[in-house]
């Protein structure tokens, strides 16, 4: 009887110890996984102020990703609907705007940065990386047009946006700095174009392993008109008649002043 009671206690202890060891293993594995597949990002500056002397800026994004992954940093504008006209030949001679076409849900800007060529990352396989590229926007941007024959509309849209400098894929502008405990730190320098509309933007970080996104993070960036451009824009759009009259009066005074200066110089 005593022997069987001792055996029971022993087996109970073994179960408890086993459970503890299993729980500890699970926890350590989980924490290791959590530590590996985490992405963090910080952005400098957190807001872009467009003043009188604004000519684009270099936005810096820093953070960390799992050591065995690649960082893809995207500067993305808010989704909007863009109404456009598709050009076609009239009478077989002249190019003219013809059919109406709307691109729904297109980001106002999309600058994709990576340390290595995105084509190389795409070659590794995986589906997610394709979505991160400019061509991947085709999945989210809806094209609405009159009639048919608009098969290349999205490609033309990409061309237009790339020409404006608002859509761009660049590589080599992300550098990795140090790695420890399964994470590596990075620094991305994203050149923001001068042709930028005020509004809400975000810097999105995707950690890519074997062509798949394994971790994500993002930081909002606000773009504002400040100082003189804000004053001018407010006048031009909020008090347009007054703006027109002021622009005329100042041009009149400037013309008169310049004329008088040159006339008085000419008379000597």
């Amino acid at each position: 009887m005593k022997k069987s009671k001792k055996a029971k206690v022993k087996s109970k202890n073994a179960i408890i110890i086993g459970t503890f060891i299993f729980a500890a293993f699970c926890l350590s594995t989980l924490s290791a996984v959590a530590a590996q597949d985490v992405a963090r990002i910080a952005v400098e500056p957190e807001a872009i102020n467009i003043g009188a002397l604004y000519d684009g800026i270099a936005l810096t994004a820093t953070g960390s990703i799992p050591a065995d992954s690649e960082a893809v940093v995207r500067f993305v504008g808010a989704a909007c609907d863009l109404h456009m006209k598709e050009k076609g030949k009239v009478g077989g001679i002249m190019w003219m705007n013809l059919d109406s076409i709307t691109f729904k849900g297109a980001p106002s800007a999309c600058l994709v940065s990576s340390a290595v060529d995105l084509k190389g990352l795409e070659a590794d396989g995986g589906v997610s990386i394709k979505v991160l590229r400019l061509s991947g926007l085709k999945r989210s941007v809806e094209v609405e047009a009159d009639g048919g024959g608009h098969e290349n509309a999205f490609e033309e849209f990409l061309k237009l946006k790339q020409k404006e400098g608002l859509y761009r894929e660049m590589f080599g502008n992300i550098s990795y700095e140090s790695a420890s405990e399964g994470q590596k730190t990075f620094r991305a320098i994203v050149p923001i174009p001068s042709r930028l509309a005020p509004g809400d933007y975000a810097v999105k970080l995707d950690a890519v392993r074997n062509g798949d996104v394994i971790a994500r993070a993002e930081q909002p960036v606000k773009v504002n008109l400040v100082g003189f451009p804000a004053l001018m824009s407010g006048l031009a759009f909020g008090h347009s008649a007054l703006y027109g009259i002021l622009a005329t009066i100042i041009a009149l005074i400037a013309g008169l002043g310049i004329g008088l200066v040159f006339q008085s110089r000419g008379s000597h």
């Binding site: 076609g88 705007n97 290349n152 008649a241 703006y243 622009a247 005329t248 009149l252 004329g259």
Partner: protein
Amino acid sequence: MSIPLHLYLPIAGNSVNMLLILGLGGGVGLLSGIFGVGGGFLMTPLLIMFGIPPTVAAASDSNQIVGASTSGTLAHFRLGNVDFEMGLLLLVGGIVGGTAGVQIIKVLRQLGNADFLINLTYVLMLGIIGSYMFAESLQSMRKARKNIRPPAVKKESLYGRIAKILPWQMEFKRSGVRLSVLMPLVLGTLVGILAAIMGVGGGFIMVPVMVYLLRMPMHVVVGTSLFQILFTCINVTVMQAWRNHTVDFILALMLLIGSSIGAQLGAKLGKKLRGDQLKILLASLVLVVMAKMLYELLARPEVLLAYVGGH
């Protein structure tokens, strides 16, 4: 410490190199000083070429011409070269035409064809005026070489006979002509429409209209044209700013500073050239700009999409 060279234009929605815009104003001002034209027909296409949206380029150029024509009108007024009666009739027509032109542009912007119309109007006007000036100056150069004198009495043309039978005939003393008041009103309206669409003062259209259709003497043409252009452009600037929000005042001011300096230098340079040489050079310049714009209409565009409603 480096000197900031770029300036953000809130209406054009882009930043520009200040030296480039001042240089552009100076270059066009130099040519306008040499040839005695406003230079708007050159300025707008050049601004478009440097990335300014066409509707903003055209409207801001009108604003710039307000300043540029102010000093010119003042100088000619002092010399007694302004026919106010003719100028006011052309002005009334110009204001009606300018207002109509702004409305046309507004509708066309909504349809997405404003830029197309601006380019097409340019090609037609530059082509017609450039070819006419080129042919006329070539002819006068040949005549000068052969020393041919024009016939003393010319048979009156059909246009001349129609002009005489129109109602409300009036004596324009400063210009020394007798015409129906309808003529400057209608012609002023047509030039006003073109000025609003093209974003020009209309000088390069108005001067041939005054010389060949209203038959005014050349010295009065220049002063009266400037007087009329000044008021037409004031109207176009206010209307474009109010209705279309396309006037970039900063851009206009930079162009004005550049063009005023350039025009003074050009006027000095122009005195060293003969009249025929000046005319044929200007005609060649006009035709080169026209050929470039025509090519853009005929060649396949780089991108087959355009925004609706400007930028």
